[in-house]
């Protein structure tokens, strides 16, 4: 058992850096995809969807990746705090913005895809 644990530790030490960097890149790409969505989607609500979901998911993946490459436990603890706070504040502010927009009477665009080509940022 001890041998097994030791070998697991060895494997972990081996894959730690590549795995962490890979997760970082994956998270960053997720964020990038979300930002593309923010540019390309046709109206506020779809943009909100793109921004908030990829924000939370991408940030989580990135922070896990950073935790893998971090040198000390303190850094991991700080990353956990960042994740916790982002996880609380990000959806909250998305909710606040969506609520404000909805109450202000901003209507979502509905209809078929062909109808959505009117103004800026449409599907084009």
């Amino acid at each position: 058992m001890a041998d097994f644990l030791a070998s697991v530790g060895d494997v972990f030490a081996l894959v730690r850096q590549p795995l962490g960097v890979g997760l970082c890149i994956a998270g960053a790409l997720l964020c990038l995809i979300g930002s593309v969505g923010v540019i390309r989607f046709p109206d506020f609500y779809t943009r909100l969807h793109a921004a908030s979901i990829t924000d939370t998911a991408g940030a989580s993946v990135l922070l896990v990746g950073m935790a893998f490459v971090s040198p000390t436990g303190w850094v991991v603890l700080k990353l956990v705090f960042i994740w916790l706070f982002l996880f609380m504040t990000g959806p909250t502010s998305s909710h606040a913005v969506a609520n404000a927009a909805y109450l202000a009477g901003l209507a979502p665009k509905t209809g078929r895809r062909g109808d959505l080509t009117d103004d800026e940022g449409g599907w084009s």
Partner: protein, 360 residues
Amino acid sequence: MSDPVAIEIAVFNVILLAMLFVVGAAVARLRSLFAIVMLTGAYSLLSAMWFVTLDAVDVAFTEAAVGAGVSTVLMLGAMLLTSRTAKADRRWARIGPLAVVLVTGSVLIYATTDMPAFGDPFSPANSYVGADYLVMTAADIDIPNIVTAVLSSYRGFDTLGETGVVFMAGIAVALLLGFGERSLSANRARGETAPVRTETKADKSDHHVVLRVVSRILIPVIGIYALYVHFHGELSAGGGFQAGVIISVAVVLYSLVFGIAAALDAVPVAFARGLAAFGVILYAGVGFYALTQGYNFLDYDAILSHGADAAGHHGDTNTHGQHIGIILIELGVLFAVAGSITTIYYAFAGRAPEIRDEDW
């Protein structure tokens, strides 16, 4: 520049400067004051990142605390009391300023030919006193964060002046706009019906349970984090200025979510302005204490003398006096900044908005 990371950081630096430039140009063109405030927020985020790439971690910390919380809220508060859009400017009126700006800019750019190269360790700015601080801090003060050491010990007198300026600005704002009490009592006197709103269908979803719950969790955390920033300021980035701003951000958040009356119950105006005054007095008091002990103003060795010899040379490595002094004056800065900025916020938020509908 041979280091690949250094090159990447340099490229990042250029990109950030370009983005700052774009944001600045957009601010110049826009007329909606609200969009301008939003862009100022983006500007602050960008400049915080830029500060980090140029190693100014403490500066980035301060910019983060100020830009993310305080300055946006203050500008919005001022806009509530004034107007929301700028008047369209006349096109010909742009020519004069543009000419002045172009001439000034070209003169300044001409002057850069004499400037030291970027990152030159031998430039005049980097040569004398800054380099000395780097080398001497370990022996003199014995704390890792050299910025804190310079801020509160080597240049303590300078910082006292800055703290005084923050305090005076807070008092001046309060004198101009009131402490927030007057308009509140006016609101109360106006009766319980002050904000008459017609209920609409949308009001059914006008609940903010999520915001309230999350804020209730986060506000204490922000306060604790401010204390961490304060007391950890000698070991890593942070210090009294940042912590003071963060504490006032917590008050601002509380007031935004639970209403200014609740915030005034929790942190009364008198407490905030008393705290500001007490901070400045504490700071100056440490200096005068040193004077009474026969040392120079703000020489913290007075607090716990470590036996200067006849020539006044402090050869001993006992730096506890410095440590205690730094903690005391950083506390003074914390109180002064937190109290002043909270007072400023109350002054803006407490004044009854009388914005006209055509300005809205």
